[in-house]
């Protein structure tokens, strides 16, 4: 009988110790303006903890994801330029290889219903597999990454902090990356403050006129407040015969999707040059030039562009001035999103 007592005391003791060993997780909040639509992403697989956010942040900035440890997500997605690859029409990756498309911006991704210019990726959690396996980007496999991470003391510790288990799996790796990129939200631009009637959101007459012009000519595809309809459109760009990229049709094999590409958000567009899926325009002036005088007619051209967009030189200037109000310095310089020196 005494022995039983001793055993039970030991057992209770061990149980209490376990209680202390369990890591206290700090929650992260997914916040957005209450007048925005509900996110498309279902957050249920994420732990929504600071630990998973920081793990994802480390992975995002770590070239360990590439075959030869040279390329990280941040190589083509730089925070200061809205998480895209500034100054490169086509993004380059491993061994200096050049890909076939301009890297996309990363922001407000929880509202995105498909990913990549052709929408080939159907879910944010599996998006990272595309650059990981692309021969011109990271040229790696998730299997190899999991193996590398399982051999890394640093990552075993970071995964343990999230899951109370240091074993790294493909799913856990992808979820951590998701936990980081899904938090990259931009909703504090001057435009947002104008909509919310907040200090700093006072629009000039020129900006107001630009917004009106935008709503008349652009907003049906670049729909507020996310500035994208998440749709695929052919915007009448001439085919670049060095690439012969037919966009969405490559995924659906449907002729009616020929030359259609995802409508990108215009948030932070001042900093995300160059523009279009192949980065053919370096400036926003060139983009407006295309929409007003450069549309190529074809069967799949967006119906919104069937009629000419007419803008006077002054109206163009007003529109460009308005587009600058979509810049969100809180987002572009948010220290929580930059290289993880401090964690």
């Amino acid at each position: 009988m005494n022995r039983i007592k001793t055993y039970s005391i030991c057992f209770v003791g061990i149980f209490i110790c376990c209680g202390f060993a369990v890591i206290q997780h700090k929650e992260v909040l997914f916040d957005y303006p209450e007048y925005w639509p509900k996110p498309a992403y279902d957050f249920s697989k994420l732990s929504m903890t600071e630990e998973e956010f920081q793990l994802g942040r480390h992975l995002f900035y770590d070239p360990i994801l590439s075959r030869d440890n040279t390329i990280s997500c941040a190589s083509c997605h730089l925070q200061a330029t809205g998480f895209t690859h500034v100054d490169h029409d086509l993004s380059h990756g491993i061994d200096g290889n050049i890909g076939t498309r301009n890297s996309m911006t990363l922001m407000n991704l929880a509202w995105s219903t498909s990913f990549m210019w052709d929408g080939g990726v159907n879910h944010i959690e599996v998006q990272a597999l595309a650059p990981i396996t692309s021969e011109d980007e990271m040229d790696n496999s998730l299997e190899a990454i999991v193996e590398k991470l399982n051999a890394s003391e640093k990552y075993k510790t970071l995964f343990y902090r999230v899951h109370n288990d240091s074993v790294v799996t493909g799913q856990k790796t992808l979820l951590a990356l998701t936990q980081f990129v899904v938090m990259l939200n931009s909703y504090n631009s001057k435009y947002d403050k104008y909509i919310r009637n907040e200090a700093g959101g006072e629009f000039t007459a020129q900006e107001k006129n630009g917004l009106e012009l935008f709503r008349t000519n652009c907003a049906s595809c670049h729909k507020e407040p996310l500035f994208t309809s998440q749709d695929f459109k052919n915007i009448g760009l001439a085919v670049d015969t060095t690439l012969n990229d037919f966009g969405r049709m490559g995924i659906t094999a449907n002729k009616s999707d020929s030359l259609k590409f995802k409508v990108p958000t215009l948030r932070n567009i001042q900093f995300t040059s160059p523009y279009m899926h192949d980065g053919r325009f370096e400036t926003l002036q060139e983009v407006l030039q295309h929409y007003t005088t450069g549309i190529q007619q074809s069967n799949t051209l967006a119906p919104e562009l069937k009629n000419d967009i007419l803008l006077t030189p002054n109206e163009r200037v007003d529109l460009l001035v308005f587009l600058r109000t979509l810049s969100d310095t809180d987002f572009l310089f948010n220290k929580r999103f930059n290289y993880p020196n401090n964690y």
Binding site: K45, G120, V121, N122, H123, I124, E125, V126, L129, A130, I132, T133, S134, S141, L142, E143, I145, V146, T169, G170, Q171, T173, L174, L175, T178, I251, A253
Partner: protein
């Protein structure tokens, strides 16, 4: 004290006897990969019905969403019953369901491949973890059935053939719901996999590579239930 324990043991023992006499059996399936009734092995020559000589280097596929239908029509879905079978990895040929029992005459249903819902559900775990080499990256979705090898009939590099069968969007779905009756008298249940049936309608000199979803993949997927001698 001792007497109490004895009673307890007796109860256990009787329960055990009762269980072993009942008609319920534990579900355990063994897949038997064959080529014209020969046991299939890696890098061994076989001849197809169309007289192509072939060797296999890889044969992996998903069997998922198992369900038992009792004779009275009631159905039970076995939770998380997703298997990635690798024909050349012996232990994956054993599908064990330690918590699932059945009676003779019950029907077993399952998918060859992964259903649409799981193709659009992001990153999953276990057999469905995208790190298992059965997930497309440039176009999201699982490869349901992967068969690779070589044949002198193939005009490809190193005479390789590669069939990666997948795709979940209409009209080119490749996942097949199949069923068969559990009336095998002995346990575990053996499920023959007739790989020769795969090549019945394939001329390897014309067709040796399918790596994307689409019409060709869906045509091949339609023949997969025949490999397992199950009903669609």
């Amino acid at each position: 004290m001792k007497k109490q324990f004895f009673h307890l043991w007796l109860l256990f023992f009787m329960g055990f006897l009762l269980m072993s006499y009942s008609e319920e059996k534990r579900l355990h399936i063994i897949i038997q990969p064959q080529f014209s009734s020969e046991r299939v092995a890696e890098n061994t020559w076989y001849v197809t019905e169309n007289n192509d000589s072939i060797q296999f280097s890889k044969l992996r596929f998903y069997l998922t969403n198992f369900e038992i239908e009792k004779k009275d029509g009631t159905r039970y879905s076995i939770p998380d019953s997703n298997f990635l079978v690798d024909v050349f990895s012996e232990e994956t040929l054993q599908l064990k369901f330690p918590d699932v029992s059945y009676a003779k005459g019950d029907e077993l249903l399952f998918n060859i491949g992964v259903e649409k819902e799981m193709n659009t559900a992001g990153a999953l775990a276990g057999a469905l973890d995208p790190s298992n080499g059965m997930y497309w990256s440039w176009q999201s979705g699982y490869i349901n059935f992967k068969l690779e090898g070589k044949s002198p009939s193939c005009a490809s590099r190193k005479n390789k053939f590669q069939f990666h069968i997948g795709g979940y969007t209409a009209p080119y779905e490749t996942t097949k719901r199949v069923h068969f009756i559990l009336n095998a008298p002995n346990e575990p249940i053996t499920l023959p996999l007739q790989i020769d049936a795969f090549f019945k309608n394939i001329q390897l000199k014309d067709e040796y590579q399918i790596m994307i979803p689409g019409e060709k993949a869906s045509v091949i997927a339609a023949t997969l239930p025949k490999l397992f001698s199950v009903n669609e």
